[in-house]
């Protein structure tokens, strides 16, 4: 089990941090969003509920848009559009 970061299309990336607890998911998300360009999309996959609350606050603070939130069986798939 390791962190996976991939480009799926132009301007679309996937970050999979399932299996990781705080603070890994939010720190990896911040790191990756910092590298992405404005308008790029990030599909974020994680399973640590408390990281979600922090990531949501981080997006609100930075102005990044949470386009979609899907939660299934303890695994969260969120789509974030970078400001």
């Amino acid at each position: 089990m390791s962190v996976k970061f991939e480009k799926v299309n132009e301007g679309e990336y996937v970050l999979d941090v399932t299996g990781y607890v705080c603070p890994h998911p939010q720190m990896y998300t911040k790191k990756v969003l910092g590298k992405m360009k404005s308008g790029d999309f990030l599909d974020l996959v994680f399973d640590n509920p408390s990281s979600g609350e922090s990531i949501e606050s981080m997006c609100e603070s930075e102005g990044d848009e949470l386009v979609n939130k899907a939660d299934e069986g303890g695994t969260f798939r969120w789509k974030i559009r970078k400001l």
């Binding site: 962190v3 720190m27 990896y28 911040k30 399973d47 509920p49 408390s50 606050s57 981080m58």
Partner: protein
């Protein structure tokens, strides 16, 4: 048309059945947990009604667990997320909880049933809390956070709990080998206490730390400092307003100015140099309510933490006891009591000491001897976990968190990988040592202290923040190193 409608209805029915089935599975397991806890509680009460004292801890634990998981309420996040991702959400939630708990605690103090005693003031708080704060970043949660995350099925957090439990039990019973690390002034002071020979207080680092250092310190609260000790005015104005609410309000304003204001002004379309105080006030309110779950949990925890003090204080009055050990002794349960016939029984929310008792109880049954330690032998005892009221509160937190995460479909068994397992054990080890040095964790030494007018709680928070700050720097270094090896972050050439 009719066929189409029925086909559509069948599909809708099937879908809703799937949905209901899923909902029922998690909810059903949660209801089974609730049912088992209820039946077990009723059975215990049928054995002896005085065990309501024990059961009350368990049920407060359940409520804490539900609130902690619902609000993702973790005090590690309060300091760590500030330094790592610039998010003040949890720090704000903690301050909300502190303000409300200070008021409910003041009401309990004014009613004359508060079980709270101020902690001794000394350097041990800053040193212990800094070690604890360093550990929580690697453990992925604070003492209470690790309990509720264990309830979510997080294996890493379960390892943290084991590390905290056994490391504390080992640390408080350090033997002869550690005598060389004891300052001579502690050894002399410990020897002069005239304690019973079977405690061997001049043997072992922790015993001499307690008898030769801690016992020579004293603690107080703001009400007493202002000459208003034992009065309602002292409880509300001294302990709550001056000791907790004003410091919390100042921290909230600092959090707004440093972490929230810039983003808020951008979202509100305001220019930084041209903002009225009303707009600033709206900004502070927006920060307080930005995570409604966290704010709600903060209010709930503040209310129930105060209520627990009132309930335990009332039960002590009813049974004419100062400590649950006396009640156990009266009922004929003498196994595991300290030599003073006491057990650990804070009367309010606490986490780490009962975990140390769990570790010690297991180690004792594997052949360890803890009777000569101050921590277990003289003060806290080593009762059977099922008769350990605060430990049942911790179990309640795990079960409460499991119940609500099952209902909300957030429960998931998560087996730690090697990296998270090593971090969990290392973090839990530091948390255990830090908590024992500081005489408590983020709950007992900070949350329950700062809210009762004991200013040592704020010293603990400062030390915890300091330790977390350095741990975040180490964690950043680790993630940089790891991502450079395992992840391609050169986005332009992907």
């Amino acid at each position: 048309m009719a066929n189409g409608s029925s086909a559509e209805a069948a599909v809708t029915g099937a879908v809703s059945q799937v949905g209901v089935g899923r909902l029922h599975r998690g909810t059903a397991i949660a209801l089974v947990i609730l049912g088992v806890v209820t039946i077990a509680s009723l059975w215990v009460l049928s054995v002896d009604q005085r065990l309501i004292y024990l059961i009350s801890y368990l049920w407060f634990g359940l409520v804490y667990g539900i609130l902690l998981q619902y609000g993702r309420f973790c005090m590690a996040s309060a300091v760590r997320d500030l330094f790592s991702v610039n998010v003040p959400r949890m720090a704000v939630g903690v301050m909300i909880a502190v303000m409300l708990y200070s008021l409910t605690a003041a009401a309990v103090t004014a009613a004359g049933v508060s079980p709270f005693h101020p902690h001794p003031l000394g350097w041990h708080i800053l040193i212990g809390s800094a070690i604890f704060g360093f550990g929580i970043v690697f453990a992925g949660g604070c003492a209470s956070g690790s309990l509720y995350k264990a309830g979510e099925g997080n294996g890493g957090s379960m390892l943290v709990l084991l590390a905290i439990s056994f490391v504390q039990a080992w640390f408080v019973s350090t033997g002869t080998w550690s005598n060389g690390l004891v300052p001579s002034s502690w050894a002399e002071s410990a020897a002069a206490k005239g304690m019973p020979a079977q405690l061997s207080v001049t043997d072992g680092w922790f015993d001499q730390f307690m008898a030769g250092y801690i016992w020579d310190l004293s603690g107080t609260n703001v009400a007493s400092m202002l000459g208003m000790g034992g009065t309602a005015a002292g409880a509300f104005i001294g302990n709550a307003l001056i000791g907790a609410i004003i410091p919390s309000a100042v921290i909230i304003l600092v959090l707004y100015a440093v972490y929230f204001r810039k983003g808020y002004l951008r979202r509100a379309g305001l220019q930084p140099g041209n903002v009225s105080w009303q707009q600033e006030a709206y900004g502070v309110w927006a920060m307080l309510t930005s995570s409604k779950k966290t704010a709600f949990a903060g209010l709930g925890l503040g209310a129930f933490a105060g209520l627990q003090m009132w309930v335990v204080g009332g039960l002590r009055d009813k049974y004419q006891i100062f400590n649950f050990g006396e009640l156990l002794h009266k009922m004929g349960y003498n196994s595991g009591l300290s030599m003073q016939n006491t057990v650990f029984d804070p009367g309010y929310w606490y986490i780490t000491t009962q975990e140390a008792q769990f570790g010690g109880w297991v180690m004792k049954h594997l052949g360890g001897n803890f009777d000569d330690t101050i921590f277990f032998g003289l003060e806290n005892g080593l009762p059977n976990p099922l008769m350990n009221a605060p430990l049942l509160m911790s179990l309640g937190i795990i079960l409460g968190a499991a119940m609500i995460s099952l209902v909300n479909k957030e429960f998931k068994w998560k087996r730690p990988n090697l990296e998270t397992a090593v971090f969990a054990l290392a973090g839990g080890t530091l948390m255990g040592i830090g908590a024992r040095l500081a005489l408590g964790c983020n709950i007992g030494a900070f949350f329950a202290s700062a809210t009762n007018g004991d200013l040592t709680g704020w010293i603990f928070l400062a030390g915890m923040a300091l330790g977390s700050y350095f741990a975040v720097r180490v964690m950043n270094w680790w993630l940089e190193r790891k991502s450079a090896k395992e992840m391609d972050l050169d986005l332009d050439n992907m």
